[in-house]
């Protein structure tokens, strides 16, 4: 499939995207009047910072959902990768090696999930749910349940320095986005993802090795979760053994709000950008309005479930 065909099958992308844009403008408008300090450059920079971690994780989730799967282990893998990197730094490894260790941990988690799905025929929900328990559990065990914090300047630069005025996490998110968009829209690997998401059977008949594809998709989501986890660790200057909890849910929401249907085969990473953006604005705004985090949990949970319900209803009526 060529890029144009993909976009044509992507189901009224312009309409959906503009819907999200209107929602973003509305939310920004409301918070600008109700939340003190919301409409300021410093706060927007803050939103961009918070949003980058979610965006990177959600890019991985987009690939999974596009291919007709879901990865519930993203939060756990983020945590584990962050924790491994942190422990490696504490053990005196240079930052680059510590980061590689974290990335390797994330990819390994993804590879194991992918192996279960492609070689053992596990359903992707249950395989990734099991991995969620395992990665979260290992993170708790290796840290003995407490945070690992205080890193060298070199590592902290990832999270809190700027290059020509732009925060490094934002640059990392942008670079990741560019790479994933290239892979998705310009390579055969990318169009194969759409193919197995659309119909695995048809994809297999047309000569795509679907189990190899699934394995690769899970390795990629694991790797991206690890990137997100490491950036988060650096920004917080601490690896908390529950830091990633809930990111899988926010990522699913970012993907769905961004117009990639839960059924797979359509959509793309551009919408996910808007989805991640709107969720970050919501969280930031609710915070500034002074709603406590339990309220945020409830409201965002309800809104996200609502968005998914709307998505499923609109897609089933078509």
């Amino acid at each position: 499939m060529k890029r144009r065909d993909i976009e044509r099958t992507a189901g009224r992308p312009r309409f959906r995207v503009s819907g999200v844009l209107i929602a973003i403008i509305a939310v920004v408008g409301v918070f600008s009047f109700t939340a003190k300090g919301f409409f300021s450059l410093a706060n927007f920079a803050n939103i961009a910072l918070q949003g980058s971690v979610l965006f990177i994780a959600a890019l991985g989730m987009t690939l999974a959902i596009l291919s007709g799967m879901i990865d519930l282990s993203i939060g756990g893998v983020m945590t584990l990768a962050g924790v491994i990197t942190a422990l490696a730094l504490k053990a005196g490894l240079p930052p680059i090696l510590a980061i590689l260790a974290g990335l390797a941990a994330g990819s390994l988690c993804g590879a194991f999930t992918g192996y279960l799905v492609s070689s053992w025929g596990f359903h992707h929900w249950i395989a990734t749910f099991g991995m969620m328990g395992i990665s979260q559990g290992i993170a708790l065990v290796v840290t003995q349940g407490s945070s690992v914090s205080g890193f060298s300047r070199a590592f902290r630069n990832i999270g809190d320095s700027t290059i020509i005025g732009i925060p490094v996490p934002v640059l990392i998110a942008a670079a990741t986005f560019a790479i994933i968009a290239f892979v998705l829209y310009r390579t055969r690997f990318g169009s194969n993802m759409y193919a197995i998401g659309g119909s695995e059977q048809v994809a297999r008949y047309s000569g795509i090795n679907s189990s190899k594809m699934k394995l690769s998709v899970f390795v990629l989501t694991g790797l991206l979760a690890a990137v997100a986890g490491i950036v988060l660790t650096s920004r917080m200057n601490s690896a908390n053994p529950t830091a990633g909890m809930g990111y899988e849910f926010d990522s699913i929401a970012a993907v769905i709000i961004g117009g990639t249907p839960i059924t797979g085969g359509r959509g793309g990473v551009k919408g996910t950008f808007l989805g991640a953006f709107i969720i970050s604005i919501l969280k930031n705004g609710l915070n500034l309005v002074g709603l406590s985090s339990p309220w945020q949990l409830t409201i965002i949970g309800a809104m996200i479930t609502g968005a998914i319900i709307v998505d499923v209803i609109t897609h089933s009526k078509r």
């Binding site: 929900w125 328990g133 349940g145 699913i252 985090s293 309220w295 945020q296 409830t298 499923v312």
Partner: protein
């Protein structure tokens, strides 16, 4: 090959036997009356939650919200349960709230056609959030004796939770295996389309099962906070993982239409032995989620292998 198939068929009994022998040898405390009563008591709670999970897994669903729904229904009912005069109201609130959450899950899955993982995961975040909001950082503790009887008391020398679990088991067993409702449940799980075409109101079956699962979670909530003697919004975080592990290791496959609650009872026993053993051997409780996650994966591998051998 046939021998291997036979071994796999009885693998659950073998696992239980191995755990029993191993733990008896490894820990002097394991084979004592008080520890075994403890194991049985914990099995009862996990079994009730496992039954809830099994019901929805039977129709190809899942319920990730059981831990959070347990927390919410406990928190909403706790202040009533604390006063001896309002225990009945508290019980009704607890069971009612949990059933209502189950009903909503059922609606989202059957009518709106949300994937069950997503619907119940969303429910899980919302109910956990509501529980936190409602309690506002407080904890309710110190329940009256009449209520504590449910989780910590004895009847005719047997811990009360065992009685509760036995009643739940019997009712569910009769409904699932001796009534038309039960046949409809298995038919819907095996092939929803075919069941629907042969006149089964599959949507009602699914909604009914999620509601029933919610009710069982409410029952589990009462048992749990009665034993804990406290209610707070953070309880039950690992219950969904445990209940899924108990169901799958018991031998009810994730795909639905097969298995049942008697298998889950075995599964709950295995899992409880495992965590009791880890406790006795001084393994940190931090290991639990990694172990339960691995049990889930191991259980499915076991099922795949036995299917393969069965076909040969």
């Amino acid at each position: 090959m046939r021998l291997a198939a036979q071994i796999l068929k009885y693998s659950r009994l073998l696992i239980i036997a191995a755990l029993f022998v191993g733990l008896t040898l490894a820990s002097p405390v394991f084979l004592t009356g008080s520890n075994l009563i403890n194991v049985v008591r914990q099995t009862a709670l996990l079994a009730v939650l496992g039954f809830a999970m099994t019901l929805v897994i039977l129709v190809g669903g899942i319920d990730l919200s059981i831990g959070s729904v347990l927390a919410l229904s406990s928190c909403l009912a706790a202040s009533y349960l604390k006063e001896p005069s309002t225990i009945v109201i508290g019980t009704i609130i607890c069971l009612g709230v949990a059933s209502a959450c189950g009903f909503l899950n059922g609606l989202m899955v059957a009518k709106i056609k949300l994937p069950p993982f997503i619907a119940t995961y969303g429910m899980s975040w919302m109910t956990r959030g509501l529980a936190l909001v409602f309690m506002g950082g407080n904890i309710v503790y110190g329940f009256p004796k009449t209520f504590r009887f449910l989780g910590a008391g004895y009847m005719l020398g047997v811990p009360t939770p065992i009685w509760v679990m036995t009643i739940a088991f019997t009712v569910l067993y009769v409904v699932l295996h001796m009534t038309k409702i039960g046949r409809n449940v298995y038919a819907t799980g095996a092939n929803k389309e075919a069941a629907f075409l042969s006149g089964v109101k599959t949507d009602r079956v699914v909604i009914g099962l999620y509601t029933m699962a919610g009710f069982l979670v409410g029952l589990g909530a009462l048992m749990y906070i009665s034993r804990l003697n406290a209610a707070e919004p953070g309880i039950g975080e690992s219950f969904a993982l445990e209940a899924i592990a108990a169901t799958l290791i018991g031998g009810t496959p994730f795909t639905g239409g097969e298995g049942g609650i008697s298998r889950t009872l075995t599964g709950a026993f295995i899992l409880t032995l495992l965590s009791n053993g880890m406790n006795l051997l001084g393994v940190s409780s931090l290991w639990q989620s990694a172990v339960f996650g691995s049990v889930i994966i191991f259980a499915i591998m076991l099922e795949r292998i036995s299917k393969k051998l069965g076909n040969d």
